[in-house]
Structures are given as C-alpha cells and as structure tokens.
Symmetry: C2
Subunit: 356 residues, 2 copies
C-alpha cells in the first residue's frame, strides 16, 4: 500500500521494524549537506542558495522526513500553542466561543489545544498546571471559581499571557478578559417583564461567585430599583447552572405560596430543567407563566412558543479573546478588556402579566 518508489529496492521491510524516526540528520546525509543547512531551508532563512534549497527539499521528499515539533519547541522556547480551558464543552455556547478563538488563532499561526474542566475547580487547576508544564504560549479560560486560591495560584505561576472569558479576578484591573454585558441584557429583560405588568419575577442561575451571575443580578436589581419596586428576594435561586438545578428550583418556585408570574433562566442548560418542571406542573409557557432565557440556542427559537432570550454573539467572544491574546503575545502591555454587548430578543414566551 505504501508508495513503492519510496524505498530503494532492497529495503523491503520484512522484520518488525524498530520504527526509527527519520530526522534532519538523515536528510542532511542524503543531501550531502550540513544539518544546519537543512534547518535553514526548513525555516526559510534568507541565506540559502537556490541549489541548496532544491537539494534539501528533494532529500526531504526522498527520505520522508517529518519535523519533530517537540524538539523544535524545546530549542526555540516557544510552542506556538495556546491552551483553552472550557468549563463544559457540551454547552454549545462554549463550543462556539472555542471555535471563534481557534479560527482567529490559526490565522495567526498558532494552534489551540482545547480541554474541558467539566466545571470542576480541581480539574481547572490540574489543567492549568498541565498546560503550563507543556509550555503553552498563552491561555484562554473561564475559571470555574473566581475566588479559589488554588486556581489563582496556578495562574500566577504562569508567566505567559492569559485571557479570561466572562470572569473577573480580584482587583478588576489585574487580568485581561472578554466580558459580556450581562447587566444591561438583564436590565432590558426585566424592564420588558415589568412593562408587561409582571412583579413576581424569579431569577434562576448559578452562584453569585461568578461574574455572569453577579452582573445579571445587578441588572435585575437595577430594573426594580429604577421603578421603586421591592426586590422579590424570595424568588432568587442562585446555586448552579445545571439542568437539574433548574428543574428543582422551578419546582420549588411553583409550589411556593406566592409563586412567580415570570421566570428568568440564567443559563442555557438551566432552561431545559425549567421547561421540564413547567411541563411536569402542567403550566403553559407564555399563557400561564412568562419565561426569559439566556443565550439563543435552537431550543429557544423552536420551542412552542418561542422563548424570549438575552442574546450575545458567542463566536465573536471567542474571536475577541484570541485577538486580545495575540496582542499580549506580540508584547502588548497591561490588562486588556473587551466588552461584548447583549441584546434582548422578544418572543412569545413573554406575555402580559397580572398587572399588565
């Protein structure tokens, strides 16, 4: 199956070949030139004659040489690789961010290695450490816990540039980041619901330890405050982004004495839990209870009725993160921050409430 004209005549591989690696040395020997010349051709340095270039390229072809990036990186001191630690790749949102980042990085000649912390701070730390030991040139990540000392310590040991996605660590100006404007998105959503006459509005989301939750909460509060309305403290369920929590929280909310007339799901996984619970309770979205979710996914658009969402451009976030990192890699100074806007897409899941 191998190309027959590749190995002379008498080199038919009979024995369990020891699979010796073909190195630049072989190329040099075959071309009858020095090792350094081969290197110069491969990295196209200026000082190589046309004849030398051809000679070497032919030899490379002839012996079937393949570069060893490990050796090269070791010598050069740079891997041209950027790490990306996602909280949860199975979340389509993160996948899009990763895609955006990878595309931009590839354009700039970097490659990206994607890993998954599955939302676990321990894995976060382990991944940061591993990537550091691998000598990546930069890192894009969305830590699972902004306050965890271990994670911060691992990050501090990293001398390469870091860009956070939707996270903020102590002392706002310490780290570069791409941040989405959750506060204004939420503010718009709550204003919309209040306009419709809702007053009992519930918010289900993760722990306020994470920036997106803090921001959403602040937008939520701002909207109530602006109208002089009391905050429905009992309707804040802030504990996790998981579908199961969404389901449980919704179940509890519906069973309460004074249940909400509108629910905001702060996370696209949460939404599936919320919908399951509403369905189980026999409530019809829109008619019985209004619903807003975060991030536009197929489910929100195709649900009956379609679900109002606070949207943002995930691919753009990834691109922006890559852009910042590239600036830092090029020697750019200080913490850089890009803010990504959010926008409210009104759909039929939000209907006039009791006072509307």
């Amino acid at each position: 199956m191998a190309n027959p004209d590749e190995a002379g005549t008498n080199e038919a591989a009979e024995k369990p070949i020891p699979a010796k690696e073909v190195t630049m040395k072989e190329v040099a020997a075959h071309a009858g030139v020095a090792l350094s010349s081969v290197s110069r051709v491969l990295n196209d340095h200026s000082d190589v004659s046309e004849s030398m270039r051809k000679q070497v390229l032919d030899a490379i072809e002839a012996v079937g040489y393949e570069p060893n990036l490990l050796a090269s990186s070791l010598r050069r001191g740079s891997t041209m690789t950027v790490g990306f630690i996602a909280n949860d790749i199975s979340n389509p949102l993160f996948a899009e961010i990763a895609m955006g980042a990878e595309r931009r990085l590839n354009e700039a000649g970097y490659s990206m290695v994607l890993t998954n912390s599955e939302g676990s701070p321990e894995r976060d730390e382990a991944m940061i450490r591993l990537l550091r030991w691998r000598r990546i040139d930069g890192l894009i990540l969305s830590v699972a816990d902004e306050e965890r000392a271990g994670t911060l310590a691992e990050l501090a040991k990293l001398s390469e540039p870091v860009v956070l996605i939707d996270r903020q660590v102590r002392g706002a100006d310490e780290a570069s980041a791409v941040l989405s404007d959750h506060a204004n998105g939420m503010r718009a959503a709550i204003d919309h619901l209040l306009d419709l006459g809702h007053r009992r509005v519930a918010l289900i989301s993760g722990r306020p330890g994470l920036r997106p939750v803090r921001e959403r909460l602040s937008g939520f509060k701002a909207a109530f405050r602006a109208r002089g309305l009391d905050l429905p403290e009992d309707l804040l369920k802030l504990d996790s982004f998981s579908a199961t929590f969404g389901q449980q929280a919704t179940h509890e909310l519906l069973a309460a004495d004074d249940p909400p007339t509108a629910i905001v799901a702060g996370g696209n996984l949460l939404l599936t839990g919320v919908l399951r619970a509403l369905q189980a309770a026999g409530r019809t979205v829109g008619a019985d209870i209004s619903l807003v979710s975060c991030d536009d996914v197929p489910l929100t658009e195709l649900h009956s009725p379609p679900i109002t969402v606070i949207d943002r451009d995930a691919v753009q976030m990834g691109e922006a993160a890559a852009e910042l990192l590239l600036k830092l890699l090029a020697g750019g100074e200080g913490p850089l921050v890009t803010e990504i806007p959010t926008s409210l897409i009104r759909r039929a899941s939000t209907q006039p409430g009791p006072a509307g």
Copy 2:
C-alpha cells in the same frame, strides 16, 4: 506577591527579568546532588534513599521547579497525549463523545488534545499532520470524508494507533473503530412509521459517502423491502448535515407533487432546519406530518410535541473509543471494533398516517 523566602536576600528582581527557566539542574545544585538523582526522584524509581528523596523534594520546593514536558517527551519518545479531531465541536453529540473519551483517557494517565475540523477535509488533513508532528501517542477521530485520498495518506503516515468514530475506511478490517448501529435504529424507526400507516417517508441526511448515512439508508431500505414496498426514491435528500440543508430539503419536499407524510431527520443539526421549514409552511408536527430525528438532545425532548428519536449513548461511544485506543497503546493487536446499540424512543411527533 511572590513568596518572600524564595530567593536569598540579594536577588530581588528589579530589572525586566529574562525569565530564565528553573530546571532540574538548579534543583540538583541546590540540593547538592547529581542531575540524575533528581530525575530518579521525580520518576520515583526504586533505587533512591529516603534521605535523597526528601533532600530533592525540598530543593524542588525551594527553587520552585516545574517539569518541562517538552524535554521529557522528547527524551522519552512518548508524549502521553492522545489527539481527538472532532468534525464539529458545537454539535453537542461530539462534545459528549469527547467528554467520554477524555474521562477514560485521563484515568489511564493520558491527556487529550481536542481539535476541530469544522467538517472540512482540508482541515482534517492539516490537523492529522499537526498532531503527528507533535508526536501524539494515539488518535481518535471521525474523518470528514472517508474516501479522500489526502486524509487517508496522512493517516497512513501515522505509525501510532488510531480509532475511528462512526467511520469506516476501505477494506472493513483495516482500522479500529467505534461504530453505532444506525442501520437497526433506522430500521426500527421506519418499521414504526410503516406500522402507523405511512408510506411516503422522506429521509434527509448527509452524503452517502459517510458510514452513518450508508447505514441509515440501508436500514431504511431494509424496512421497505421487508414489506415488499417500493422505496420512495424521490424522498431521499442526502447531501449535508447542516441546518440550512435541512430547511431547504424540507421546503422542497413539502412543495412537491406528492409530498411525504413523514420525515426522518438524519442528524441533530438537520432537525432544526426541518423544524424551521415546517413552521414556515404552517405544518404542525405530529398532526400534519410525522417526524423522527436522530440523537436525543434537549430540543427533541422539549419540543411540542416531543420528537421521536433514534437514540444512542454518546458518552459511552467516547469511552469505548478511549478503551480501544488504550488497548492498542498497550500493544494490543489488529483492528478492534466496538458496536454501540441504538434505540428508538417513541414520542408524540409520530402519529398514524393516511393508511393507518
């Protein structure tokens, strides 16, 4: 911010430090032992005294040593890293497969680097080559095109073990793979539709060049043949897995002279396109037209009505792929194949047809 007792007294870093790497040499010097002893401690070889171990570990702590995996891999000739090339990470199905694989590989001490070919055969090739140059120990992937010579050539150059996901390359017995039993799943789905009285059943999916499509098609045909029914050739739309194709194909099907009474969407992205088209045409799923999709995602469960799907366990697929690869890495022989079952989940999107 750095630990103050870390650098003697007079080493306060004032200047733009050249960021010299702390190596085993520094550790050895600080501990007053040989380089090789440090290495022995780090790889916990048997022949190290307790005192030596402590001495070295203390020195490591003191100088803040961090292993260089590049150097280590170069020397050892093994990276303990497995590559994973996904067709499309933003497809939640692939994300789950990747998660399953990574989990299993990590248990075995390997780490996984995930990359994304975005369904492009060119990127496929480029990624295989890059990973090969990086000297990965093994590869899990789902090639974008089973027949493309370039991809096969790149794979052939790889001397490390490979496991395919739901793909089959020429000569069934040439490559290890995890294959899902699409044929039986589709057979069950079509039997279900035929039982309900449907005869005009459409299938929308990717190109038959890919195994999942071939298998689904074969299950589709088998079901019709088994009842002596003619195959509705005009209802086969096999060109792409994208949402836009799903939408377009559905549009065309609905506009035809003798439109289908049931549609099978062969791919979870396709489904969103199909639903958009049905919605645009004002058809109600279940009542007006029956619908079956492949792979259970939140949308299928939470749609109104819920959508009948041919399901399979994606995480299990990933685990199985890792399992096979680990066997091969341990010296296991020959191509290994694991078959993953599919099952039909009946929901309200499939209703009795005209003849039912």
